[in-house]
Symmetry: C2
Subunit: 159 residues, 2 copies
Amino acid sequence: MISGNEIILDKTDLSILRLMQENARISNADLARELEMAPSAVLERVKKLEQKNVILQYTTRLNPSAVNQKLLAFISMKASDVMGSSDTAKQLAKIPEVQEVHHIAGEDCYLVKVRTADSASLMDLMRNSFSKIPNILSTRTTIVLETVKEAQQLVIPEK
Amino acid sequence: MISGNEIILDKTDLSILRLMQENARISNADLARELEMAPSAVLERVKKLEQKNVILQYTTRLNPSAVNQKLLAFISMKASDVMGSSDTAKQLAKIPEVQEVHHIAGEDCYLVKVRTADSASLMDLMRNSFSKIPNILSTRTTIVLETVKEAQQLVIPEK
DNA sequence: ATATATTTCAGAATTATATTCAATTCTTAT
DNA sequence: ATAAGAATTGAATATAATTCTGAAATATAT
């Protein structure tokens, strides 16, 4: 095998993924019933999908309000990164409140999705975390008033 | 209780949520071991968290490339919605390729996160789905070159 | 075409887990 | 203090996960 990493998924794999994306806690037995296969066969496929890095994570979507993460914002920023190096992005990614970091087309630009308790917490974050990252030339914050559709990953407070 | 829907989560609940957000397929037995509690007690809490809508969904994060969703873009749009009604957002939310729909501050503005196979698919989507939604006055597409951090929900092809 | 290797699958056996429930302990308000 | 309600435990049993083996199907090499 010279080529390398082309991942081929058949109909059965895709069905498994569809069911597990919908409900990650579906039992292997139920999966097998849906697919009309033996549980052992299904289990083997799931393990391969994990190994092949098709399945990245089983996660739980939480109600943001319930864990006191009521403010959602997108911050776009201009940075003076040298081509190829993206230390800025990596440092942004380390901040727990930062849910997503995307390097976007156009300029030296990053788009960051942030979730905090309120606007005061967001300002704290910008003062204490963002301001310590070098290369950031400017930021522009967009507050989300209402989210109609979403999948998320939240920062759960210690206590 | 006159107030109504204040959800109170204790330390144990938060630990459960933290563990389950990290790995939705953790067994109840393992959860109990981690928390040094009886499995039955943990199970009861998890069920309550589901009932109280703290837990929204157990989901599986997939490798976008593996399911042929290689292009990620953010589309910001101006719409002529009447205050309060947000049919536009609801219609956007119905499109499977649309992962997120946020109503953002500033003007009558929506921010939409879209994932497709490639730029041709994105253009198809804009021609065939977006253009059929009334009230949209203008759109601006931002292509993501690289994602450094993310949680997602993907459209899995039928076959 | 044929042999060989690889992959996929089903079914049985074993081990582990989920689930239920009655009894008990812990909380909280009075 | 104490009653009422909530949460937890532990044991029993119902379900499920996991492992293994061999058969079948598929792919690859000769």
